[in-house]
Amino acid sequence: MKSLETQLRTLRASGRKALVPYFVAGLTPDWLHYVDAAIHGGADVIEIGIPFSDPMMDGVVIQEAAMRSLARGTTLDSACSDLRSLTSSVPLVAMTYYNIIHHYGLLKAAGALRAAHVTGAIIPDLTLEESGEWVHCCASDDVANIFLTAPSTDEDRVAKIANVCEGFSYASARMAVTGKSTDEGDAHRVVDTIRAATDIPIYVGIGITTPGQAQEVSSYADGVIVGSALVQQILSGATPQDIEATIRSFRQALDQS
């Protein structure tokens, strides 16, 4: 079992719902301060977006952030080198598009991530069918392969995905790209279907925007991923302190569930 998964299973066993905020690497010069603030605020895992020119699975907010970050010159290397300066032991998970690591070289990419203390990777356009090589490359480096399951995924596929998914299972709350939403969408059904196939921790993402949603979702899921809501705040000029406050409110909501 990859170390990320061991950690997250332990977390779940402790009764704590996981809070996973998402940040775009290199969005601002001080982007790591937001990461630190989130950790202070009670985040359990940090998801780091490494920007790609064509973020096909992202909504406008994260697209905008990715473009700004790219304009600042962010690369896989620069992101990793930034991350290496983080001191916290909170697990890091990278999110990027396949072309970034494909171009970098899969084995080299896995090594670079691991060297930056990244222990999990979400590649949303890497389908189960195409993932063999990457899974193989990650194996040697203790990087967990995190797969998404969508509301449209049928039971058969859920089972197959569950079979190879490591760290946690990413349950997509709705048929949509990343962005802000106000309800829980199809999350409950998706989580139940995954749960029937595996006992890996299941985190819900895509459109989780408010502590209230997070609380509701955490009644059946093991954690929540909060992306666009935070990125939007940062794009609008929020300080690390603001982000810490937001994270705290999510933390409280989850802890009360």
């Binding site: 020119s53 790219l70 072309n99 195409e130 969508a150 995924t153 995905i161």
Partner: protein
């Protein structure tokens, strides 16, 4: 030189042509891709479906399009030049073949709506056309830059009952329109088919679109026999995503004809690109040293794409087809030459292929060769642009 009989057959189970192709999409779209693959395989071997497809293309689409001997240009160049006249197909290019097939398939899958991306508007107009004929809802994603450059095509789509959504992300051109259509497809995949416009995207699109365009090549090869030309020495087509080229190549894949794809110099995925993954496929892409996709640049909107269909990447890798770039300057004079000599104003895309032939005669195209040009579309859409360029240059 003998050729093995395996070119341009079906891709493998994962949708791979050699090392290119495959499926790289959000998991949310995988079921739709799988459903489409199954539906396409069934439909494409169902005589009833095939008959409807061919009937619609004949009664509505204007097929077969003729092969025109270009006599004056042939005499000028010292070759035997023939043109497969996709400019005469309904909506003015080969695009209609694909959209007729895909909209019929949409209906067969019980879906009631199509979405599409478009660059200059040709595929968008074609999709809106085929959708109108069947009463399907239609939404077309088009880069904001392109909606402004091609206002009239936006209006055309609206006349045809389609909704045009300007895409303001990224470079606000074709590549971003594809991204946006994919994003949108995730939200409505249940009742909506994504009618992709070229031999690109995730499996089964590159294969399916090639199959739906292969009518061009099959007609042409028979027509050249009827004209007593037989197998031509070379078949030349322009390449954006690669659908018109794939369509005509398909009729000659297992022949001795040289297959030649002409890319815009500023969008030459074979010349300037390297393997990468974009828009659901692994193919050759123009990208920077970090794997960020670069914008293509071409005088012709339809070739303004940083990638190429995966099967072309494979044909290039195996050497079965050759791909060459042509710069903007040569394109304009080729457009003028064909217009003046033969009374056919070609699309700027097509003019790339003409320009290459003119350039290569006496070099890689020996005098006396027989050459088949895929005249992929008419230039009506481009005359305003050509006029303003020529005026500015004069």
């Amino acid at each position: 030189m003998t050729r093995v009989d395996t070119f341009m057959s079906a891709p493998d189970d994962r949708g791979r042509f050699g090392e290119f192709g495959g499926r790289f999409v959000a998991e949310a779209l995988m079921p739709a891709c799988l459903e489409l693959e199954t539906a396409f395989i069934e439909a494409w071997s169902d005589p009833v479906f095939l008959d409807e497809y061919h009937t619609v293309l004949r009664e509505f689409g204007g097929r077969p399009t003729p092969v025109t001997p270009l006599r004056r240009l042939s005499a000028l160049l010292g070759i035997e030049l023939y043109a497969k006249r996709e400019d005469l197909a309904h909506t003015g290019s080969h695009k209609i073949n694909n959209v007729v097939g895909q909209t019929l398939l949409t209906k067969r899958m019980g879906k009631t709506r199509v979405i599409a991306e478009t660059g200059a508007g040709q595929h968008g107009v074609a999709t809106a056309t085929a959708a109108a004929r069947l009463g399907l809802d239609c939404t077309v994603y088009m880069g904001e830059v392109d909606t402004k450059r091609q206002e009239l095509n936006v209006f055309r789509m609206e006349l045809l009952g389609a909704t045009v959504v300007p895409v303001s992300s990224g470079s606000r051109t074709l590549k971003d329109a594809v991204n946006e259509a994919m994003r949108e497809w995730v939200t409505c995949v249940k009742d909506t088919h994504y009618c992709l416009g070229s031999v690109m995207g995730p499996h089964p699109f590159p294969w399916m679109v090639r199959e739906m365009q292969s009518i061009v090549g099959h007609e042409a090869s028979q027509q050249l026999v009827d004209l007593n030309v037989g197998t031509p020495d070379a078949v030349v087509a322009c390449v954006g995503g690669g659908s018109n080229a794939a369509g005509i190549f398909a009729g000659f894949a297992n022949s001795t004809a040289r297959l030649i794809g002409i890319e815009a110099a500023g969008g030459s995925a074979v010349g300037l690109g390297s393997p990468g993954v974009l828009h659901g496929m692994r193919s050759l892409l123009i990208q920077d040293e970090f794997g960020q996709i670069e914008e293509a640049h071409s005088i012709s909107a339809g070739l303004d794409y940083p990638g190429i269909g995966p099967e072309h990447a494979h044909l290039a890798a195996t050497g079965r087809a050759e791909y060459y770039p042509i710069g903007d300057e040569d394109v304009l004079s080729a457009l003028q030459l064909l217009s003046e000599m033969e009374g056919i104003i070609p699309a700027l895309e097509t003019a790339h292929a003409v320009a290459w032939i003119v350039q290569e005669v006496g070099k890689s195209i020996p005098r006396g060769s027989s050459v088949l040009l895929n005249l992929s579309g008419r230039g009506d859409k481009d005359v305003a642009q050509v006029r303003s360029i020529l005026r500015a240059g004069a």
